[in-house]
């Protein structure tokens, strides 16, 4: 394989790498990936709450013989979805493979096949013309790719008030069933719609890459609440569902276990240097073109390391978050709605009158994680907290708002020796949270500004804009075709090449843009 000259090498098999590679299938293409997979084992059969009630002991499945479920008790906290015995492979080894130093940016990277999308919430949203304003792309350029993606992965949702922000999509599968709480919110919103809209708040159904009907051999969502514990749920789109068949059919080659460190270009050939993560063996792979889809942070490292540049400070953006708990008082002490799901129930879009920014968020139920994950956040004794969580959970929903990424001169990413160094500061005013709390209070959902939480910068896992696309790119920027300035045949196809980071979840656009860049390259090859 090392002797071969490929038409293209794609680094990474997350949403970016997978959809770039898919466009090039049939050519001589190699996907290089570390590519960890979930541990083998029989899937959990049934629903989380039925299993918990009926199976005497679920220690191996929910905590794990290696105590994976206790991760946040003794190590840097990670998303609750990424610390169960069967999902912890998503973050396996990332700190060793890609060290990152920061005092104010809590990043995470994945070296699994499928990348972070092994654990994603599957919210898929088209960027509209306002959100693409800073991208050097003609209007409507991404639409055909979004359409193709929708047909390929299957998207459920509705065409409601949010069409104004999400666009109308006639090809959606029916929306997911709402929990009692979410259905109540939507009903009351519809009655008070005018007042909400006047305050810049719009509510509606989320668009999710989660099937509610069979699609391409995959089965619909079973409302089993197992998202925190069970990988490869066929209803929730995962890039491995696309890449595995392409590899099996021979349309693409995949080399797993390889960590790409840097590249070099000479005489129309890109040499890609990689180290095997198990054996430590070094290898050089050769191709006419290189597509970097290793995730924003890892792609940035590869570029900086290739140019051996420890001086350059590149911009980096993420979506700061605010987490707002809301309570429906009349549901205190109700039976927990165990057929709820931990996926987004509703979306909220808010136009902040002060900044003019659009914020987007999702309402989640609380049935996904174990109670022990959240109990000790209450300012109560452990026993009192147990009672509160038991009786309040049925009444509680979490509104997770994303702010757009803002470009700040002091926020940067750079290479320092072997580590990426990130500085990221962000300070919100709390204004949007207060406005949302006021609006929800009017329809009977209560919360307190004091209970709002602001996860550390980096926790959104939405990273981008380190090598932004520009009409006339300078060094460390990319052209509209994704090509990295000062290179002949190196393309960036993940969030690193975004020109801006709106509050809307980015992955659908990462996929669409990766397709667009790879299709352009394919045309060039032909």
């Amino acid at each position: 394989m090392a002797e071969a000259l490929f038409d293209a090498i794609v680094v990474g098999s997350g949403p970016a790498g997978t959809f770039a590679a898919r466009e090039l299938a049939g050519r001589k293409v190699l996907v290089l990936d570390v590519g960890y997979r979930a541990p083998e084992g029989p899937p959990l059969a049934g629903s989380l709450y039925a299993l918990r009630r009926e199976r005497r002991d679920l220690f191996a499945e929910l905590i794990g013989d290696g105590f994976e479920g206790l991760h946040n008790l003794h190590r840097d906290p990670v998303s609750l979805k990424l610390k169960s015995p069967r999902t912890s492979y998503v973050l396996r080894g990332w700190q060793a493979l890609s060290p990152l130093v920061s005092t104010n940016f809590q990043a995470m990277m994945s070296f699994a096949q499928g990348g972070l999308a092994n654990a994603w919430g599957a919210g898929v949203y088209r960027f509209n013309s306002e959100e693409l304003r800073q991208f050097p792309l003609p209007a409507g350029e991404l639409e055909p790719y979004y359409d193709e993606l929708t047909a390929h992965i299957g998207v459920s949702g509705g065409n409601d008030d949010l069409v104004e922000f999400f666009g109308r999509d006639p090809s959606l599968q029916p929306p997911m069933r709402l929990s009692l709480l979410a259905a109540g919110i939507l009903q009351r919103y519809q009655a008070a719609r005018k007042r909400f809209r006047m305050r810049g708040i719009t509510l509606g159904l989320p668009r999710l890459a989660v099937l509610t009907e069979p699609h391409n051999g995959r089965t619909p969502y079973a409302y089993d609440n197992l998202e925190f514990f069970q990988p490869y749920n066929p209803a929730i789109y995962n890039p491995v569902f696309t890449l595995d068949p392409l590899i099996a059919s021979g349309a693409l080659e995949l080399a797993r276990g390889w960590l790409v460190t840097h590249f070099r270009e000479s005489a129309g050939v890109v040499e890609v240097y990689a180290r095997h993560v198990e054996t430590g063996a070094q290898e050089t792979f050769r191709a006419r073109n290189l597509l970097l889809g290793a995730g924003t942070l890892s792609t940035t490292r590869i570029v900086l390391a290739s140019w051996r540049d420890e001086q350059a400070r590149l911009p980096v953006l993420e979506n700061p978050m605010a987490c707002i708990p809301l309570f429906r008082l009349s549901r205190i002490g109700a039976a927990l709605d165990v057929n709820d799901s931990s996926l987004a129930q509703l979306n909220v879009v808010y136009r902040d009158p002060e900044s003019g920014e659009l914020l987007q968020g999702s309402l989640y139920g609380t049935t996904g994680p174990l109670r022990s994950d959240v109990l000790f956040g209450f300012p109560l004794t452990a026993r009192a907290a147990l009672e509160w969580s038991k009786y309040l959970s049925p009444a509680m929903t979490l509104l997770m708002m994303f702010y757009p990424g803002r470009r700040e001169p002091d926020n940067y990413i750079r290479l320092q020796g072997n580590a990426l160094l990130v500085n990221y500061q962000w300070r919100g005013t709390g204004g949007p949270e207060r406005a949302l709390l006021r609006a929800f209070r009017r329809i009977g959902f209560h919360g307190l500004a004091a209970l709002c939480q602001y996860p550390a910068a980096g926790s959104s896992l939405h990273y981008g804009c380190t090598l932004p696309m520009r009409a006339a790119p300078a060094r460390y920027e990319t052209g509209a075709d994704g090509r990295l300035a000062d290179t002949a045949n190196v393309y960036v196809c993940d969030g690193a090449c975004f020109s801006a980071l709106p509050a809307k979840n980015l992955t659908f656009t990462i996929m669409a843009n990766a397709m667009r860049i790879a299709r352009g390259l394919r045309r060039k090859m032909e």
Partner: protein
């Protein structure tokens, strides 16, 4: 881990369990607790041992220390215990409400607030009296 450490952690988990749950403790939870405490690097901490030796109110001491930003290891040990029992069906009803109980729930919430206030007073006194660092 030598035998005395094992015995110390064994006594500790039994004492902590009795402070929060009123049912017999399964041997496998004891074994997992001991391994988990080691795994999380908490086996050196002696706060819980002191509580067990002096038969103190673990709930009160933990809360008083937590509010002071201290006793991190003790809180983590109690969290480990909660995790280990939450995944067992015997404890399902401790964590998940299955029957609608609006009035009773309000009463229980109010009572647990009062309990928290009382435990804070008691815990603060115990922390001072027994010199928990």
């Amino acid at each position: 881990m030598d035998r005395s450490d094992q015995a110390r952690l064994d006594a500790e988990v039994r004492y902590l369990h009795d402070a929060f749950f009123s049912r017999p403790l399964a041997a496998e939870v004891v074994d997992r607790y001991i391994r988990a405490v080691r795994h999380c690097g908490l086996d050196e901490d002696r706060t819980a041992e002191k509580i067990v030796r002096s038969r103190l109110d673990a709930e009160a001491v933990e809360f008083a220390l937590r509010l002071r930003g201290r006793g991190v290891a003790l809180t983590r040990k109690i969290r480990i215990l909660f995790y280990l029992v939450e995944v067992r069906s015997d404890y399902y009803a401790d964590f998940v409400n299955e029957t609608p109980l609006f009035g009773r729930a309000l009463w229980r919430l109010a009572a647990s607030l009062a309990r928290t206030a009382w435990k804070l007073v008691k815990g603060s006194w115990l922390v001072w009296r027994h010199g928990f660092g």
